[in-house]
Amino acid sequence: MAKKAKSTKDVLTVPELVYAEVSVRSVGGVSLFETPGLITSETVPNFYSESQLVNSAVERLRTEGFEVLQVGQTTITIAAPAEVYERVFKTKIAAEEREAIKEFGEVTTATFLECPDTAIPGLIEPSKSPLADVLEGVALSEPVYYFASAFPPPKAYWHLDVPADVSLGMNADRAHRFGFTGRGVKVVMVDSGWYRHPYFIRRGYRASSVVLGPGATNPSHDEHGHGTGESANVFAVAPDAKFTMVKINFVNSVGAFNAAVALHPDIISCSWGMSKKNLPLSAANQALAAAIANAVKHGIIVIFSAGNCHWGFPGQHPDVISAGGVYMHADGSFEATQYASGFASNIYPGRKVPDVCGLVGLPPKAQYIMLPVEPKDYLDTSLSGGSHPSGDETVADDGWAAFSGTSAAAPQLAGICALMKQVCRRLTPAQVRDILKKTARDVTKGKCCHGHSGTPGADLATGHGLADAYYAAAYAWFLCIITRTEEKVTEEEMQTMEDIILKTKE
């Protein structure tokens, strides 16, 4: 039963960063905020602005200390501390708690920002500011709530739910019961953004504010949905990891990757790339290779998806953990999926892709893992409806979509790496990859997209097979214990340890 909340006008704290929509003087001569008529698709051109005026406004807003986040056709999105607004617009900003209906129909209160000088709620009048000649008004952003459920929609076709089914498939449940949960380990994902979906909030996962890569905007939204959805794979395996998203926005992948490195994480997970079958690599590709090499040299574990039929780059770079795909049937059996890449690199001789695998669906679309996304984003709408496997049978605005690809495998492996780093901080990226390979479950059925078959032992279809969270973490734990002393561990002792762990596994 929802509780009725009271509206209050208590003194509240204004957030550190205040977001607003700025309207540049409209071509129609009437302010967007003062028009007596309705703003419709027919009348909206009256509220567009001259390009020169907009450019001038953007420049001058920046000069005054505002961050310009997005330049739209009718408004400019800005952000700055409240003091900047108060100085520039010679006003005061106050916080008010008002009644609001949040997710799950909960009637509660939310913090709204108000400017007491104007009659229109949330409007700042710019006439006393040095920007009066270009701006007609500034609208303080209001909190908005979507109505996505924390629970995935039930569907009759065979698919995996997070966290339970992915955790089970990656054999993470057993690791969790030993206390291996990724606690204290920093995992950064470079992707399309991250939306604070009720799925994450209700489970109390630890996620920091989104960091914007170069040129990226809108830190609180994930317009695509890919980053939000695939991040659920990290938490399914490592529920206590400290997670941060760097929003890439396609603009500069090297800069976004370096922004992730600058956060000094333990692990960087990337579910993207391009197809590069042969040399030469472009200068930009070399810059990306250098960024990855530099990260690994500094001890950061870097995971890249191998690709979905792509000759994935950087998924084939020698320093990354390359994530391929294995399909888990409803009876728990495994096979290589034809959706995922598997190849010997022509660019890096001797490099075989993938190293190990995560859980990935089958062609045509690998609509396999039901993942949380921002309601009405690209994936929510584009994958919705239809009949599985050509559609995910969800509705277009429910905040859930079924997808996977090797995009899902990379964060699953990142989760396992987080468990390993939790139990043995000093593991190097090379040791982590070695342990993942040694403890993976061999997959002897099916074919990868490039036509290679799963066979006993390592192969190009799945590398060393499906990664195993429990045995990888256990191996890392034992390794850390036996190498703790000054005394050198003999090869024989190492072999004994390996036998104990891997025989238990069999």
Binding site: G215, V254, A262, S282, Q286, A287
Partner: protein, 125 residues
């Protein structure tokens, strides 16, 4: 409102390495083992940062390369290139397509090897 003109775009400046080896035209795999050979000296990073800032670019924290940001017109003027901009739907990100290699101005030539716009990657769902 012209989306492209008012947007900031971003590129990577590949700096001259302290070993003299070219990263942009590396003839070996660039890996954690040899990355030191492709890394610029601290003085090169400082000088490149200063010069690029003087030209009007913003610099973001970077690794081996420098991430530079500026308006398209600034890139066109400094690097004598024509840019076409394409808005990616649905992310809203602006991808940049130059009509040729960016020409490094004399003031940067001692410290900057090349300036490149990374090609937009695709997600692998």
């Amino acid at each position: 409102m012209d989306e492209g003109i008012s947007s900031m775009v971003s590129a990577e400046a590949i700096l001259r390495s302290k070993s003299g080896r070219s990263l942009a035209r590396a003839d070996v795999a660039v890996t954690a083992e040899n990355i030191e050979e492709f890394t610029p000296a601290a003085a090169t990073i400082a000088e490149a940062t200063r010069c690029l800032q003087e030209l009007g670019f913003a610099i973001e924290p970077s690794g081996v390369t420098l991430t530079i940001l500026g308006k398209p017109a600034l890139f066109e003027e400094v690097f004598r290139v024509k840019l076409s901009l394409k808005k990616d739907e649905p992310t809203g990100g602006i991808t940049v397509h130059p009509d040729g290699e960016l020409a490094i101005p004399d003031s940067l030539r001692d410290v900057v090897e090349e300036v490149v716009f990374p090609e937009p990657p695709e997600f692998f769902p």
